[in-house]
């Protein structure tokens, strides 16, 4: 019986708030965003220096840089210093001319360091790094949206991006310049520099994180002395993310860098690296926001196992320990990762973990959430996994049989039932006599327990025919 609405709410208000009083999250958030004044979803804490005294920010253009002319070095320095002036991008009216001057200058500087040889003389390094530090290193502003959901919400973008982008571009070109000398630069690009760079990975602005990723990768490549430090600090960021704050926007980017770093680890793996795998990468799977970086994380794990197959057993046991108990979406991701691992597993390693692993998979195929069951059953589409199962059918079939047989009769979703039939058929072909034995004893058990018990049916609402 539909209740007629007799209230005097305006039509607009009713449209915004449905009869049940609950609006969809996205609608609600969009409204909040609108209400967060019209300042747009941009944030920055760059220019708001504390207790700043108003200073003259006006910039006047300097002559064009020409590499062949004399005094260019001095002009280069002047331009770098000019670019240390910071502007308020929330205020779109003031300093327009000076902002344009800085933008043009930055563009020119980017060109200058990327197309010319011989411009990176030792004396320029302090000014270059100083300009970079002044422009990009800052405490990130508080998030506009305290319950920021990276999957659904628009990120807050950095307001001063028109300048900042060019500074990042400049830093990248500087690092990539053929004349770049790490031995000189290490005086400026030091641990403190790296630490501040790493803190910026928490920015909500994906454009900025993308630059940071490439830049950190370059620094890792060029500064051998900083490598261990960078790894340690990334460790700390992850551990804080896992055990303290559950909040860091740049986990995926950092993992992506690590993915390529792991690739280059020397064998045998150092204890430090193994510890990183077991005590940092595996616990990262417990994060609520796993979906945001799972692809990168799984890649890192597989990289490790390809390097050193003896790590397979502890890794799989670790994943089984952290196996999601209530979140189906995560469970599907775990199954995906497990398939990636099984793709590269050595048969001897497989034997070591098959029992706990297939106990878990057997639970997954009976999951009432059809996506979980489906993902688990898809493992049987993988030729290599199939060959491993066949090799160990005596061990695996008894673990799987009960669940598969029951689900083939009882799962509510027809797709799952069809998949189960195929899997059962495959297993039967692998060892027919064992299959028959198991069928017989299964039926025996059920008869002994009387008619199929409702208690054993995980889907009490399913109407069995």
């Amino acid at each position: 019986m539909a209740a007629k609405d007799g209230s005097k709410m305006s039509a607009a208000a009713i449209a915004a708030e449905k009869v049940d009083g609950f609006t969809r999250k996205s609608v609600r958030k969009a409204q909040q965003r609108q209400r967060r004044s019209l300042s747009s979803s941009q944030g920055s804490s760059q220019f708001r220096t504390h207790g700043a005294v108003p200073v003259d920010l006006s910039l006047s253009p300097l002559p064009q840089l020409m590499p062949e002319c004399v005094n260019q070095q001095e002009l280069f320095t002047q331009k770098l210093q000019q670019c240390c002036v910071l502007f308020d991008f929330f205020d779109s009216v003031t300093d327009l001319k000076s902002k344009e001057v800085k933008r043009a200058t930055l563009n020119e500087l980017v060109d200058y360091v990327s197309t010319n040889r011989g411009v990176l003389v030792e004396a320029a390094y302090p000014d270059i790094t100083n300009m970079i530090i002044t422009n990009i290193f800052r405490t990130l502003p508080p998030s506009d949206n305290p319950d920021f959901d990276p999957e659904e919400d628009e990120p807050t973008l950095e307001a001063s991006w028109p300048h900042m982008q060019l500074v990042y571009e400049f830093l990248l070109r500087f690092l990539e310049n053929p004349d770049f000398q790490p031995s000189i630069a290490k005086r400026y690009i030091d641990q403190r520099f790296v630490l501040q760079l790493l803190e910026l990975f928490d920015t909500e602005d994906p454009r900025e994180r993308d630059f940071l990723k490439t830049i950190l990768h370059r620094i890792y490549g060029k500064f051998l002395g900083l490598r261990a430090f960078i790894r340690k600090q990334i460790n700390n960021i992850f551990l804080r993310f896992i055990y303290e704050s559950e909040h860091f926007n740049g986990v995926a980017e950092l993992l992506e860098i690590l993915g390529s770093i792991i690739n280059g680890f020397a064998l045998p793996l150092k204890a430090e690296h193994k510890q990183f795998l077991m005590k940092v990468l595996l616990p990262l799977h417990t994060a609520k926001a796993l979906v945001l970086f799972h692809a990168q994380l799984a890649y890192c794990i597989v990289q490790f196992l390809e390097k050193d197959p003896t790590l397979t057993e502890p890794v799989i046991r670790g994943l089984l320990k952290f196996w999601p108990k209530t979140c189906s979406q995560k469970e599907v991701m775990f199954l995906g990762e497990m398939e990636e691992i099984l793709d590269v597993i050595e048969p001897t390693q497989f034997k070591k973990i098959q029992e706990p692993l297939f106990k878990q998979i057997s639970k997954c195929v009976t999951n009432p959430h059809f996506q979980v069951a489906e993902r688990a059953l898809y493992l049987w589409n993988n030729e290599y996994i199939l060959s491993l199962i066949e090799e160990n059918i005596d061990k695996i079939l008894p673990l799987m049989f009960g669940s598969l047989y029951r689900i083939s009769k009882e799962h509510w979703n027809p797709t799952i039932v069809a998949l189960v039939y195929n899997v059962l058929k495959t297993l039967m072909e692998m060892n027919g006599s064992l299959f028959d034995d198991l069928t017989a004893s299964y039926k025996n058990d059920r008869q002994r327990c009387g008619t199929p018990s409702r208690l054993n049916n995980p889907y009490p609402h399913t109407l069995s025919s």
């Binding site: 209740a3 007799g6 504390h50 508080p142 551990l239």
Partner: protein, 608 residues
């Protein structure tokens, strides 16, 4: 017989229970068996009954068999470990009293090193608890070495745990051991990993409290200064918390040189998180440093925080405005507020961020008691009025919900002209939670504004909520009516609201007709027998013929509800026949509730 096997070595440890075929131990045997069951839930249940097991085993076997077994199960699920860590904190008597309490240290030590923070924290909590039960000798022989091992552990987890244990053993050990403990704490304050430094920083205040004053001055201050200028803002902000404890410990004359430079620096830190922390702890800091420093240093610092560039910091500071002003030294409190604080507050009223305005609105009314009648009328009233007209409903709501503060000083009438439009607007807000909130303040407003003002301006609103399209609002509106009648009396009810409520019984919308019944349920008690019998009951009885089943079974419920207010004779002659008829209704729910009412406890025996 049952045996305990550990995961590490499956040799039989002992036959712990049921070995002699003693039936009385059988339940215990089951519990022990479940400690190693595959099902986590069963293990968990068993761990939660650990004290029962220990009691049955006796102190000696608990010490020699159960504890070693538990120490070996430390590789279990975090949930089980958490329960175990908690249990062991209460185990002293079960292992034989304080003399043997050190037996509990090995399992707790392992638990204090696990990764999962909740488990570790619980283990530390239990260790702190049982440290008190150690004799001074045992503390040095058993407990302090454990703290040292944790403090020099390889992985950060054990070092973070150590941070929480220094302060509990320090006061009760010899001076040599004390020196060692101080050294360990110092080391952890400059640990390599920020996690440990954060743990140390968060325990700095607590540790300072148990130290001798000389060491506070020599050791703690340098650690405090170092942590407060750590490269990570997450460490620096924790030093702010410690600042409160440290400042409380030091004599006034030392504060300026030992604490203030660091505090000033924190108030102007480049990270907004640190400034936020200063704002958040401002009242505590103010009390800790005393009136002189407050006047000279904290007032300007507070002004800066109120004008901070980050809204988060401004909001935290705005929250503290009232408390800060209250705690200012009385001799020149008014002058400081009027010349230094009020100008900032005025600016915050038109802040660009709604959280800041709303934080301010939740405390600003409190200033009126501090500043007195004249200042309130001249300076604060315009601000209240501005906030009452704010575009953000939360701001208006916060003002309205604190009206009682102003009422004491200048009376609410001063505000009524602006109050009304604000209330009306909130009453019609698109968010039902806002509407719900304003309804809750209606009885208060009604009491303060008086019956005339209410009838004239607010009554219509209260009736309109009864037909709101959200059930929660209709329900709250019903309850509101009851409270109003409690305030204004049954006569007022009879003249103003009862007719309107009863009129809704003929509404074409069945939800509104049901609202009539809900109102009657709420009002019958406060309106009394006369009104209930003469005016309400006939309407209820007539509604028993409603075509909508939901209305009919609510009639049955209402009759049950108002039964106690009615006379026996009325029940017998009027109510019972109707219920009897409903008991034969074609709808099963109606039948059910009619039977419920007929056999209801609150009805007299004649019913059944």
């Amino acid at each position: 017989t049952l045996t305990l096997r550990t995961q590490r070595h499956s040799t039989t440890l002992t036959k712990m229970a049921g070995a002699d075929g003693d039936d009385s131990l059988y339940p215990i045997a089951v519990l022990i068996d479940e400690l190693r069951n595959e099902d986590v839930q069963l293990r968990l249940n068993s761990i939660k009954k650990l004290s029962t097991i220990a009691l049955a085993l006796g102190v000696e076997r608990t010490r020699t068999e159960l504890l070693p077994f538990l120490t070996d199960t430390i590789y279990d699920e975090d949930e089980v470990l958490l329960a175990l860590a908690e249990q062991l904190g209460n185990f002293t008597m079960l292992v034989g009293g304080p003399e043997y309490v050190h037996c509990l240290l090995p399992p707790l030590e392992s638990l204090a090193t696990v990764e999962e923070t909740v488990v570790r924290d619980k283990a530390v909590e239990s260790l702190r608890k049982i440290s008190q039960e150690h004799s001074p000798v045992d503390l040095e022989v058993h407990f302090e070495p454990l703290v040292k091992r944790l403090a020099s552990g390889d992985w950060f987890t054990s070092r973070t745990s150590a941070c929480g244990l220094f302060s509990v053993c320090y006061p009760r050990v010899s001076s040599t051991v004390k020196a060692e403990i101080r050294q360990h704490f110092r080391t952890l304050c400059s640990d390599d990993t920020p996690m440990v430094r954060r743990a140390a920083a968060s325990k700095l205040g607590e540790f300072a409290k148990v130290l001798e004053l000389d060491y506070v001055k020599s050791d703690i201050i340098s650690l405090f200064t170092a942590l407060a200028s750590d490269e990570q803002d997450s460490v620096r902000l924790l030093a702010v918390e410690a600042c409160v404890s440290i400042a409380t410990l030091l004599p006034q004359e030392d504060l300026e040189t030992l604490v203030m430079p660091t505090l000033r620096q924190a108030a102007e830190d480049k990270s907004w998180r640190v400034r936020y922390m200063v704002a958040d702890k401002f009242s505590e800091l103010q009390k800790a440093v005393g009136p002189e420093i407050t006047k000279n240093d904290l007032v300007p610092a507070f002004q800066n925080l109120l004008k901070d560039c980050e809204a988060e910091v401004r909001a935290a500071a705005a929250n503290k405005v009232k408390e800060f002003c209250e705690n200012l030294p009385e001799d020149n409190r008014e002058q400081i507020i009027m010349t230094h604080i009020l100008p900032c507050v005025k600016e915050l009223v038109s802040d660009t961020n709604q959280h800041v305005k709303s934080a301010l609105a939740s405390v600003i009314m409190g200033l009126s008691t501090i500043l007195g009648k004249d200042n309130t009328i001249e300076h604060l009233l315009p601000l209240f009025l501005a906030q009452l007209k704010d575009e953000c409903p939360e701001v208006r709501l916060n003002i309205i919900s604190n009206l009682d503060c102003v009422n004491e000083v200048i009376g609410i009438r001063q505000l009524s002209q602006s109050l009304l439009p604000a209330i009306v607007e909130l009453a019609e807000d698109a968010k039902w939670r806002v509407r719900l909130a304003i309804i809750e303040y209606m009885p208060l407003l009604a009491g303060q504004l008086g019956v005339e003002f209410f009838d004239e301006k607010l009554n219509t609103l209260c009736m309109a909520w009864l037909i709101d399209h959200v059930y929660a609002i209709r329900e709250a509106a019903t309850c509101n009516l009851m409270k109003l009648v409690e305030k204004f009396g049954a006569d007022w009810a009879q003249n103003t609201i009862v007719p309107k409520v009863l009129g809704m019984a003929n509404d074409p919308n069945y939800l509104h007709r049901m609202t009539t019944l809900f109102c009657i349920n709420a009002l019958s008690d406060v309106c009394g027998r006369d009104i209930t019998t003469k005016q309400m009951l006939p309407v209820v009885l007539k509604m028993s013929e409603d075509q909508v089943a939901n209305v009919r079974f609510n009639v049955a419920k209402s009759l049950q509800k108002i039964g106690p207010v009615l006379e026996k004779i009325t029940l017998q002659n009027q109510v019972k026949p109707v219920l009897d008829k409903l008991a034969t209704d074609k709808d099963m729910d109606v039948k059910y509730f009619a039977h419920e009412a007929l056999s209801g406890e609150c009805l007299p025996y004649e019913y059944s």
